[in-house]
Symmetry: C2
Subunit: 403 residues, 2 copies
Amino acid sequence: MNERIGELLAPTRLMLTPGPCSVDSRVYRALSTPMVGHMDPFFIGLIGEVQTLLREVFQTENKFTFPISASGSGGIETAVVNTLEPGDEAIVCVNGTFSERMAIIASRTGSTIHRAEAPLGHTVDPDDVRRAGKGRKIKFVGVCHGETSTGVITSLDPFRKVADELGALLIVDAVATLAGVPLDVDKQRIDICFSGSQKAISAPPGMAPITVGPRMEELLANRKTPVQSWYFDLTGVMKFWGKERTYHHTPAISLIFALREALRIVSEEGLAAGWQRHRQNQQALIAGLEALGLELFVPDPNDRLPTVTSVRVPAGVEEARLRRQLLDEFGIEIAGGIGTLSGKIWRVGLMGYSSQAKHVLLFLAGLEKVLLEQGYHAPAGAGIGAAVQVYAHVEAVSAGGKK
Amino acid sequence: MNERIGELLAPTRLMLTPGPCSVDSRVYRALSTPMVGHMDPFFIGLIGEVQTLLREVFQTENKFTFPISASGSGGIETAVVNTLEPGDEAIVCVNGTFSERMAIIASRTGSTIHRAEAPLGHTVDPDDVRRAGKGRKIKFVGVCHGETSTGVITSLDPFRKVADELGALLIVDAVATLAGVPLDVDKQRIDICFSGSQKAISAPPGMAPITVGPRMEELLANRKTPVQSWYFDLTGVMKFWGKERTYHHTPAISLIFALREALRIVSEEGLAAGWQRHRQNQQALIAGLEALGLELFVPDPNDRLPTVTSVRVPAGVEEARLRRQLLDEFGIEIAGGIGTLSGKIWRVGLMGYSSQAKHVLLFLAGLEKVLLEQGYHAPAGAGIGAAVQVYAHVEAVSAGGKK
């Protein structure tokens, strides 16, 4: 036996990263349900329930709505490799790491990928997509609804319009938005939409819920070449999740148990109530951050993603040291920037179970303390004071509403 | 809220399928450890421990030894897409569904895949590989160590020899064998070896441990084209699991906690003791099955995979009905045949936590009961009697050995 590796003694964290977020104890209970087989009649029934709950959260009637056995990045790969065949052209809107990831993955298919780009912290101009597609046969327009790397949300409707003009499918990365931000797959006519289990759905990471619309189903049926990935080939995976219930690969059964419970919680709260909670907690967070004199990275309030708030690291403060202090002293994890934003911003996730007033207040209190220790001075208690004002107002409004 | 989908009320199963198997309660406890981030210093330390434990079970010093965030089939895809470039040629030994899966996945890369085939229930002749490779530049020889679909084990050393003659890499699918059957990656000079978390390691499904030898590392460094899959691109994933610990995708953190605990259990027992336990329980199972007058599907005892035993469905017995009865009356799940073997065989998995004498005896007792109800007569208690004889002998030997 390996003597060095002992009992698992994990610290307790409050997850305020852009995923994974903290998880409700009900979900852990479901996660540790004793094993059943993926072909067990009980499990075959259960995956139908998971699909029903996923349709509810995606707001779709799409038959093929199910979790891919992979992280959100596996969702990106599934969406693009199933759509593209060699020689195709597509346009990806790039305004951060995750939207760029879609372009990178797509370019590994032998297709030509055009990028419509925007500076970090901003949204892509739909006219740039229009221009990129002019005179070309475009298979899909890809948009990242919530760009986790910068905290930017993109309005989908203008891109649906451009995609229609180009005769293209619309692929939407909703990893950071599903269940946290208004999204209606059927009404917004999204052809493929995918997410991650560990974001606003608040299950553990490892699953990428996806939904495939009728136009995409048709495209799959008419492909001329096999999908280059066997693991992510929707026609294969759909045989398990569809009517046939034929074995394809062994899915992560425990994670599906957990996903089901997390989706039940989303359903119990109601989508609209959940969206409002995410928005309100972010408003309190933003009020607190600004009262501390910090500058948000996304200048236009309309572009700010409710689930992930990015804030500039003030001069004189060491980015990583502050995060480490928050972790060690308060057990709070937030994220730094990635790529060119490394060292320049913090990213605070308020998603799913993590999006609660008590978490916002504890974070602002801890942040004030560790900022002060790095010599950054703000009026004492200003962050908490501003956030409390937001909550007091919200409470009053909602108490009034209940009368 | 969706009123139809209530509390998760799962049945308790004894998993005697070829995976997933039943899971130790210690592993469930680890699985439900509250969430931490994938970049948390605690987790960064923990993944080093998981790598140490995986090196122990693979018996390797390979630096790049880690779990892929996917099922075992994702392990196959990782192995082949990282190795092959357009225009390459490779040979896959095909003697069942999972070895054929490697050939199918490999053929989606634009490479030419030659098959060396054997009838179901038999092993491929290394000379067929030799012939297939003659005068060709072969990138790899792929072998499925334990063919789960038929219950056949293949000796690896002759294939290493042929691969050496051809100047090819050796890729080994150890999904059904790792931790259950002798396997020594370094001594047997396997260039890429992968497995699944839900087999003899006895963790929940969703991870595919993989190990990459020095020749494969070199090949990766010298690739001319990018790996067609971004998600399974080893050079990217290795940046997270390697020294850099750079973010690639969000791994299934809960499953990694569980995998760590399951590997600790494997390490505590010791590899040799575990292999012996798997062999002994299968011997008792086989003695019981034969005493019931059933015929094993794999004729040559040397070809029988210790972790998965396949047995022919006797005339007059309904295959699926019997399995359903075992499930409903005893909570025992076994598997049927897949592909052309559907309806013709049962597959009984004795892997990891499931490989225990009490499980073998309960299964044989239940099987006798449900066979009898379908009009299949065997001498009463013959199966149990024969298995008990095996165990009594083993106990005597091991008691003698302790003196």
